[in-house]
Symmetry: C2
Subunit: 407 residues, 2 copies
């Protein structure tokens, strides 16, 4: 399999390190807007690094992406950029006749009058609009194939297939006890994406009502995370699983709650109140006169790059899917989860826990596609494909998942 990896940030770099250990990969072109970043990712590889090459690429330039896919005879494009670049990359792959994987879906747009009640453009809507074209092309666009969305969706399908007869609620729950030495505040994941997820109106699915939105930070609950992480305050957040799971898995309700904690919630609310979450540009003095910049880009530039914090970080991160329903006539409640200890991921791969946990899942998926264990056409979520081979291969990668009976 020949892969075009777009984006050599934290997740992209971790993808190269994980894929380098696997035989299924014939070649991976590592492309980034910043060629030095792409070259550094490739230069750091020690295992069969001749299968990797670096290229400069502007992810927003659809034609350039299509040409690179063709030129490098890539079977699949793996998108490891931030969600702003989903659509040009998604269209370029379709145009080039390549398969496509991403870890975040096309962006939403809030309802003008009732943003905290009704959906307008939903996450992934722009991608599903092209579902017919993808199906006709015979190619697969496997969307939301990171850890969350991604592994969390695989868990949902696994629960539906093997653990429940009937599902009342599926709630993805994400929490961590990561701390970074020497920083007052250092998010463990892209602040651009975190702001997007947390400040957009959260989306909820109910069978009788369809998709709807709430105010940010709604329905706070304390969720007890496994493996020593413990209880963390979680709130509703806009996330792809809520849009993906109901398309393939039958459940009365689907939510996503993120264990942000009080302090982070305060900071995000402040960014919103000050207008610093905005992506629209403002005019400020530059070195040679006024320039136009996006406040959110400035917020990101002021914070340390989360991918570089691994060696100052301690703790674990947990991604998982809580499912409540009925099995064999009795009520059942389980939490299917995946925990990564930062010390382990740094020692094994030199990658920070959250970044590594995101990166391992698309590599597992690529391997399943390369072997033909997974196959499909059109625009599919991870829950559209058989979950067991995925979970088994993830364990084979040295990173097992867990199941906790509860309730």
């Amino acid at each position: 399999m020949r892969v075009l990896l777009v984006g050599a940030g934290g997740v992209g770099t971790a993808v190269t390190r994980i894929a380098a250990r696997r035989d299924f990969l014939a070649h991976m072109v590592v492309a980034d807007y910043d060629l030095i970043r792409a070259e550094s990712a490739v230069a750091a590889l020690t295992e069969r690094a001749d299968r990797f090459s670096a290229r400069r690429l502007d992810a927003s330039d659809e034609d350039a992406v299509r040409r690179l896919l063709t030129e490098e005879r890539c079977d699949v494009l793996l998108n490891a950029t931030d969600p702003r670049f989903v659509m040009p990359l998604f269209r370029a792959a379709l145009a080039a006749g390549a398969h496509y994987l991403d870890m975040a879906m096309s962006l939403s747009a809030p309802h003008a009058e009732r943003p905290h009640e009704e959906c307008w453009v939903k996450l992934g809507d722009d991608q599903f609009e092209l579902a017919d074209s993808w199906a006709e092309s015979g190619r697969l666009a496997l969307v939301g194939m990171g850890v969350e969305p991604g592994l969390s969706d695989v868990f949902a399908r696994y629960a539906a297939d093997e653990l429940f007869d009937e599902i009342e609620e599926i709630g993805v729950r994400d929490g961590a006890n990561l701390t970074v030495e020497g920083y007052d505040f250092a998010p463990s994941f892209s602040i651009w994406t975190t702001i997007e997820e947390c400040l957009n109106p959260p989306v909820v699915y109910e069978r009788d009502r369809g998709w709807f939105t709430t105010a940010p930070f709604s329905e706070p609950e304390v969720f007890d995370f496994p493996e020593g992480i413990g209880p963390v305050e979680c709130v509703n957040v806009e996330h792809e699983e809520v849009l993906l799971i109901p398309r393939w898995v039958d459940a009365r309700r689907v939510t996503f709650k993120y264990g942000l904690g009080d302090d982070f919630i305060t900071k995000l609310k402040t960014l919103r109140q000050l207008g610093l979450d905005a992506t629209g540009k403002v005019t400020v003095p530059g070195e040679d006169g006024p320039v136009r910049v996006s406040p959110r880009d400035v917020v990101a530039a002021c914070l340390p790059d989360p991918a570089t914090l691994g060696d100052r970080m301690t703790g674990k991160t947990c991604a998982g899917t809580w499912v409540k329903g009925v099995k064999d006539g009795a009520p059942r409640e389980v939490y299917l989860y995946h925990v990564v200890d930062n010390q382990w991921s740094m020692g094994e791969y030199g990658s920070q826990a959250v970044v590594w946990q995101t990166a391992v899942n698309p590599v597992v998926a690529l391997e399943l596609l390369a072997s033909g264990t997974w196959s499909g056409r059109g625009v599919l979520g991870p829950e559209a494909l058989p979950p067991r081979p995925f979970l088994d291969l993830l364990t084979e990668y040295g990173s097992p998942w867990g199941l906790r009976e509860q309730g």
Copy 2:
């Protein structure tokens, strides 16, 4: 008197409106980096507007400022820019042989190892360093001549001259009950300056110890403000009065506390934790490639211009000086204050309360200098000059001050 006013922002514009009603002014050149701003200020004047003209001027260009002072034969430069431009304007006035007034002093720099205990460069240090040159030139640099510093310093001198035999503590206390309709958060004064004041280590003076610093937001106290504003939580903030008052008024302790309120304190702490208070530049994507911008400028650009909020604002702002000591052998405690109701300042001058309150004081000072009631040479604070004529003329301007006995 011919005046060069530098800065046609909120305060500068209010200065033109107040000065236009007074006879002492022969001519005022209104200069701004943005000529349109200067022209708009002049165009809005209805009373004897022929005494005003607009010019483009870069306040950081010392030579250009000196040339303009000479060319326009100005007697005095009134600095209504933000504190970054104090030094070039101060030096340009000295070089041109003009008097100089400002409303904020040259900036401080924190102690590298013990920022919350010791001073390093203090507010105004750079200006007082040139005190001999000013004295030799026979010209007056009247520094800190707004409302706070400014009127607050006049109050301190008035208390020492007329109300106390001995002063234990002088504490400037600033509070408001202003709200702005339609905004989650809209500071009523320049956010650039507010960040500078509030996040720098606050400075405190004690007779036995000299000047020293504390951690930001130290010594919280609830101060009850007059005329219906009521109790507001105040904290120590770096402010010029603490540096000025002890040079001319004998007191055991001098502090400045600002009624920020919990919500504003949380926002400022968040800005600091996220590094968004920084003035050093960061690199972010611009429209034609990477650009370098100051995060604090971006914060300012995201918020509404406080000078434009007057018609959505309601409430009052209070500036004042609390003095505790002994008079005729008995303990005494007074609060000398000046309250501006936004509705009044908008109705009378079309200027928002905080901006108007800042602007009226340098105009009163200019009038006292023009009449020869106030005179001096060298670098002086407002407390170096007789307070009574100032307070009387302020009342004549339609904006009386108050005295509350308390304790």
